[in-house]
Symmetry: C2
Amino acid sequence: MYSYRYPHPAVTTDIVIFTIRDGQLKLLLIKRGGEPHQGRWALPGGFVEMDEDLETSARRELEEETGVSGVYLEQLYTFGRPDRDPRERVITVAYYALIPSDQVRLQAATDAEAVGWFAFEELPPLAFDHDAIVAMAHQRLVAKLDYSTIAFQFLPREFTLSELQDVYEIILRAEVDKRNFRKQVLALGKLVETKKMKRDGAHRPARLYRVKSPGKVDIIK
Amino acid sequence: MYSYRYPHPAVTTDIVIFTIRDGQLKLLLIKRGGEPHQGRWALPGGFVEMDEDLETSARRELEEETGVSGVYLEQLYTFGRPDRDPRERVITVAYYALIPSDQVRLQAATDAEAVGWFAFEELPPLAFDHDAIVAMAHQRLVAKLDYSTIAFQFLPREFTLSELQDVYEIILRAEVDKRNFRKQVLALGKLVETKKMKRDGAHRPARLYRVKSPGKVDIIK
DNA sequence: TTGACATAGTGTCCATATGACACTATCTTG
DNA sequence: CAAGATAGTGTCATATGGACACTATGTCAA
């Protein structure tokens, strides 16, 4: 038992884990095993341990569910409405993570709970206030596409310009002009040509590019 | 006494309260009465009560220290390094607030602690990790000047374009071209002319403007 | 009264960025 | 070797941003 002179809230981290697969923006959900909201889908997350940093806690949850580490992770917002969890006061520091499409492998689910990727456009009802968290994460993602190089974080080490364009079109839910897109993205000076080509079908192969400083997300414009 | 099966951190809100006075960006600090960091200056803040929302907590602290309410307040970031407070684990949800220059009146200090406005450029050493919080708040403020109408929040209900330009120059620490500035700010369509003029010295009076929807901060561009 | 002073207010031009738009190139497969 | 599929490429018109200097209108003091 841990006792305090004043009441203390519980603090958790929850993570919105995005990836792009099958031409869709997807995010990872976990089916809740216990009450409240038993059987509902929820964001992965858990209690912050007393000796770990908030980001460390988020990365731990991320790795437990997906097995990936070293991916892009950013603090999103802290949600703390007093009634957001019926059991006790729980304040959650929400993060969002972006996983390259080639690293998507689900871990054996932690507590034998169901876990799965859901298309952002077709989410099931979510537990707690997780729909608000997801909405804010998506909004942030859309905004950052415009003024940062965050889109690169969805792609493997080498990728084609068409694949990069797909990332934009999927997240923005809008078509992008191919010529203008290439002009602008190359003008950033953040990409380097490789000598390799990607061939995957009955058509002209595409040149593969690499990010000059992978992992780094720059503010542009 | 309040007891829990697992250890719980304390949760506070801290606020970076900005205003502009005497041609300088200033922020409000409070001299700490007790340990740790006794006698050091710190951001106003305090524990989140169990039945209040995070933003409510921040507004409460804000009002206790300055007497103002209804001003611009935005969640900034949550700081939670395990060692940021030597007493116990304290996670703080930081906010920042902008106070119109004509509403700057200090409240009788809560606990008879010293309280004062400091120029951002000449801050004393701060307690805890408050220097990191202040740095992030300033960074956010500078960024938002560029893509939002946040600057209006520093001004009284009616103001001149020169006063608005001053806000930009002070925060950006850079000169702004008067003609381009007026062209752009009027093109936003967020301001309306009043019929009043401000006269305050031996020179041509300046037209007073009002914000069309005060309180609202729009994303521009 | 008038001239000195201080701040308000105003327009043009050039360079750059943005956005619309259509055809050729290169590969695989039947 | 023709059909099909995706890769790759340039121009022009318009909008935007930034540099730049002078006139307007008030107060106050001589």
